[in-house]
């Protein structure tokens, strides 16, 4: 079931939704981009439809809502440890002191990304209390994708069609805006603002310009293959690719003392990146993966192989943001294809011996 809305209708709808929910959506920040004359599209809370950026891919994903850049875990005093409230705590899901549930507007790839975040935070080991608290208060609105954006490869990753966890969808149409409504309880609201009702199937991408071939298996030998060498000098280890990625979840603990003697303070977790120095440093300063090519291998294999070995599907959802953001114009997609070529070559060379082993 779906509805058609004009600009005024959408305004009213969003304004009314924003009374009951916090609405988290892509917004355009003028001149905030990498170069001063370039805008940046990031996620923020909105209370007006005019603030929502419907037509381009966001530079950063929604993930800060579920996994904040920095999150307080507990406060400590001389003789006490107290679980942190505030953002993420019961009653305060997303914005300080605001107990409302959150509606997040996102595209199909990002909705698939949520499944990956859930896998790590809810199912890999014990449930993460902080993530759970926010997650339970988040509901999704699907932004339809009438066509692909630059660098996207969602079709090849199988994440072009959204999973079924959205309340309603939103996209531009000839009549203004079209919405498919999956949550029946929202229908009276739409009845009030719609100009007409008709069947709406959310648009999804069927063709990307970029194609990616993920490897079925990666022999251990290829983990030290020359495929990775070019990134030793090309990649500068800035970590932007992981920061923008909707499926990267790593964090590091950080203690912050409020007082000189350190007896009062808090422990936080802050987002971390396997591409940045220090990620694997252990006592005495020793570290694994000093070379940037090794870090590229660690990241890329996780995205298109290791995660699948553990959870049964690939981690990467093909949003292409890593390729949008890399200051060195490194293409993740091209890297995956080079890896697959190397795997094919290896397979061809070892066909005989594999057959013998079997």
């Amino acid at each position: 079931m779906g509805y058609v809305l004009d600009g005024e209708g959408l305004d009213g709808l969003v304004r009314e939704l924003a009374r009951d929910y916090l609405v988290f959506a892509p917004v355009r920040k003028v001149g905030a981009g990498r170069f001063t004359d370039v805008d940046q599209v990031i996620y923020d809370f909105v209370d007006d439809a005019s603030q929502i950026e419907l037509d381009v891919k966001s530079d950063y994903s929604f993930k800060e809502l579920l996994t904040p850049l920095s999150q307080t875990l507990f406060y400590y005093t001389e003789d006490q440890v107290r679980e942190a409230g505030g953002i993420g705590a019961a009653g305060d899901p997303a914005r300080e002191g605001d107990a409302r549930d959150v509606l997040v507007l996102m595209r199909a790839c990002d909705l698939h990304g949520v499944k990956r975040l859930d896998a790590m935070y809810l199912h890999n080991g014990p449930e993460d209390s902080f993530y759970r608290r926010i997650r339970d208060r988040v509901h999704f609105v699907l932004l339809g994708c009438p066509q692909t954006f630059e660098h996207c490869f969602c079709v090849d990753m199988g994440s072009n069609v959204a999973p079924d966890n959205w309340e309603f969808s939103l996209e531009r149409s000839d009549e203004g805006y079209a919405c498919a409504v999956a949550n029946e309880s929202l229908r009276p609201l739409f009845e009030r603002y719609a100009t007409a009702s008709r069947d709406v199937v959310p648009a999804h991408v069927t063709q990307n310009e970029v194609h990616v071939r993920v490897p079925k298996t990666v022999p251990l030998e290829l983990r030290t293959s020359p495929v990775w060498d070019e990134y030793n000098h090309r990649c500068i280890g800035c970590g932007r690719c992981t920061l923008v990625c909707p499926t990267c979840t790593c964090f590091t603990m950080q203690d912050v003392a409020y007082t000189e003697n350190g007896r009062v303070g808090e422990r936080r977790r802050v987002q971390a990146s396997c591409m940045i120095d220090g990620y694997s440093t252990v006592a005495g300063g020793a570290s694994y993966r000093k070379q940037h090519g090794e870090r590229m291998r660690f990241k890329v294999l996780h995205k298109v192989y290791d995660f699948r070995q553990r959870f049964g599907y690939d981690m990467c959802v093909g949003c292409g943001r890593c390729d949008d953001v890399c200051p060195e114009y490194i293409s993740f997609a091209a890297c995956v294809n080079k890896l697959s070529d190397a795997v094919d070559e290896w397979d061809a060379q070892h066909e005989g011996s594999v057959a013998r082993d079997a």
Partner: protein, 266 residues
Amino acid sequence: MMPSNNPYIPFSSKVLEVIKHTEKEYTFRMAFEGEVRPGQFFEVSVPKYGEAPISVSGIVPGESVDLTIRRVGVVTNEVFEAYEGENLLLRGPYGNGFEVERYLDGECVVVAGGTGVSPVRGVVEALAASATPQDKHVIVGFRSPNDLLFRDDLARWENLVDLILTVDGAPEGYQGNVGLVTKYIPDLPLRDPSTAQAIVVGPPPMMRFSVKGLLELGLAEENIWVSQERKMCCGLGKCGHCRIGEKYVCLDGPVFNYTQSKQLLD
């Protein structure tokens, strides 16, 4: 302190005793009533300084766990400021630990170096108390005679299992064995190496060469078990730092069968 279901909130535990082995290595006997097995670890938490994963080196069920800590940096320095009767903050136990029963029946070899003795100490105790302690071969190595940990245990084990205690180097006139642990592997008096179990724990190069020696002796890969150490922040399978390939050392390890651990490339 309020108990919490939140896995990130540490609990307070009393330091029951501090045992000094060397200048830099102390054992902290901590009050702990829960279930725990050798090879598991705790996150020892010192607010302002951070957390450090530390293996369980001894267990008195329902009463205490021992944490044997080498003073190497920010957090461990701070832990060394704790005295008997004071409290430390802990989270855990984490990780899989050793399935002790696996090693009790037949022949078994344990090769441990330095602080690597901590995670296997409980296993060796069980081997010593097994029906066939003479079939249990324990090779323990330290850097020098001054670096010995668990001296009392070593003296006791000497009379129970086939113990080989060695040091990498020693001043002239030292009476004991001198040489790397790997030196003693080829001469192990195993009746049937193909069915013997083995545990190897220590610094990465020591583990690599010890496993090589055991394989050459005829042990099967699937009977060799190693314990891995990696950078860790959470111990809960969340922070990502300990991941190697598809494995999380904090959840799936730190104890791995060699058939798996040989597939792990950092």
